[in-house]
């Protein structure tokens, strides 16, 4: 196993674990609140919205996980002085960020 393989695998795993913990706690919170206080609309909404924010945060972490993987690989190729692959991964990151924050 190379250092790069270990670091990239760890990045992916960390992203996946953090995002699923956020989504899991938000999801359980949403379901429990929804069950316990079906008639108190205000209460459901305020706690529901907190739960939903947790889920949304988790989804964002998940979306940024492959992006973090690309960003990390640029650094790793830089360290290896593998200039062609620095360019390759840099291109991928630029296109990714462009399509993420693009003109829509």
């Amino acid at each position: 196993m190379t250092r790069m393989e270990i670091l990239i695998s760890m990045t992916l795993r960390t992203g996946v674990i953090v995002s699923s913990l956020l989504v899991l706690s938000g999801g359980l919170w949403y379901i429990l609140k929804h069950l316990g206080t079906p008639l108190e609309v205000g209460a459901v909404n305020s706690s529901g919205s907190n739960a939903i924010s947790l889920i949304k945060a988790g989804i964002l972490v998940l979306v940024f996980t492959p992006i973090a993987r690309v960003a990390l690989s640029i650094l790793l190729f830089l360290k290896e002085r593998d200039w062609l692959f620095v360019l390759i991964t840099l291109w991928v990151l630029v296109v990714l960020l462009f399509s993420l924050y693009g003109p829509w």
């Binding site: 695998s9 760890m10 992916l12 996946v16 989804i59 492959p66 296109v95």
Partner: protein, 277 residues
């Protein structure tokens, strides 16, 4: 109560989607979309949004294992991501210029043909030896090592430029048709570049997360990624992807090819129906 039943059933279906997605390199989307639309009556936009989340989850979840175990060829994956991302831009630009129905129809036929040839060749696997590699492979250091039943084996790569071209097409198709295009990725690496089958599927799995993340921006902005639909999908798919990654090392290639053939045939039907709508 309905919320719990919905979340639990979607969760269970998504475990299956993640499992199949991780084993075939196609991502969970192929199963998540029909599951949500046909079974749970979720509208198509929100189903596509959840499918995008499922693809990123399958990709990242399974790749964390595949990379560590040495199945994924990361250099090939990153090299080909240049083609898929460039293709996706072209595909998005061609939206409205190329007749979408015709493209979907042709793509559907290609998938039927590929399903048939994958099925027929499922018992046949031959590694390209590193000496017989495309000369570009040495320059780019694209050959690799793969764990097999008989120990670690070195493999080579063929037709890198043709594979690169097909990958741009894969990117275009995903930009144009809104599908993950994992099928084209696996086919390009398996058939054209002659990579070992498990390298092709795990490297495709590695790449599709990036393709999906690129489309996530527009989906998030339009509100198509619904938290209530996405949360059981994401958690289920992740569990399935981890299970799939556990199963892959001991799974026989012929069985994996069979599952792949069935899934891309279903995808072909989906495409042709879409075209005839």
């Amino acid at each position: 109560m309905n919320d719990i039943v919905f979340s639990l059933s979607v969760f269970v279906g998504s475990v299956f989607a993640g499992l199949i997605g991780a084993l075939t390199g196609l991502g969970g989307g192929v199963i998540v979309v029909p599951l949500l639309v046909l079974l749970f009556k979720v509208d198509l936009h929100h189903a596509l949004g959840a499918s995008l989340i499922s693809v990123i989850a399958t990709s990242s979840g399974a790749a964390s294992a595949y990379v560590r175990e040495g199945y994924t060829n990361m250099r090939i994956g990153m090299f080909l991501e240049v083609a898929t991302t460039a293709g996706a831009i072209v595909g998005a630009a061609l939206l409205g210029i190329l007749p979408k129905h015709l493209v979907a129809f042709i793509f559907g036929l290609v998938l039927f043909h590929s399903a048939y040839t994958s099925y027929k060749s499922r018992h046949h696997e031959e590694f390209v030896s590193p000496e017989n590699s495309d000369p570009l492979a040495k320059k780019l250091k694209l050959t690799g090592y793969l764990p097999t039943g008989e120990g670690v084996r070195e493999y080579g790569v063929k037709n890198i430029l043709a594979g690169f071209g097909l990958m741009s097409l894969a990117g275009m198709l995903s930009g144009l048709l809104g599908i993950g295009s994992g099928a084209v990725k696996v086919l390009a690496m398996d058939r054209v570049m002659r990579l070992p089958y498990k390298v092709s599927t795990t490297t495709s799995n590695f790449m599709i997360g990036v393709t999906a993340a690129a489309s996530a921006g527009i989906y998030l902005k339009k509100g198509y990624i619904d938290p209530i639909v996405s949360f059981p999908v994401m958690l289920g798919v992740l569990l399935g992807a981890f299970l799939g990654a556990k199963l892959l090392p001991s799974a026989p290639t012929s069985k994996l090819k069979l599952v792949f053939a069935i899934i891309i045939a279903l995808l072909g039907i989906q495409m042709v129906l879409e075209a005839l709508k």
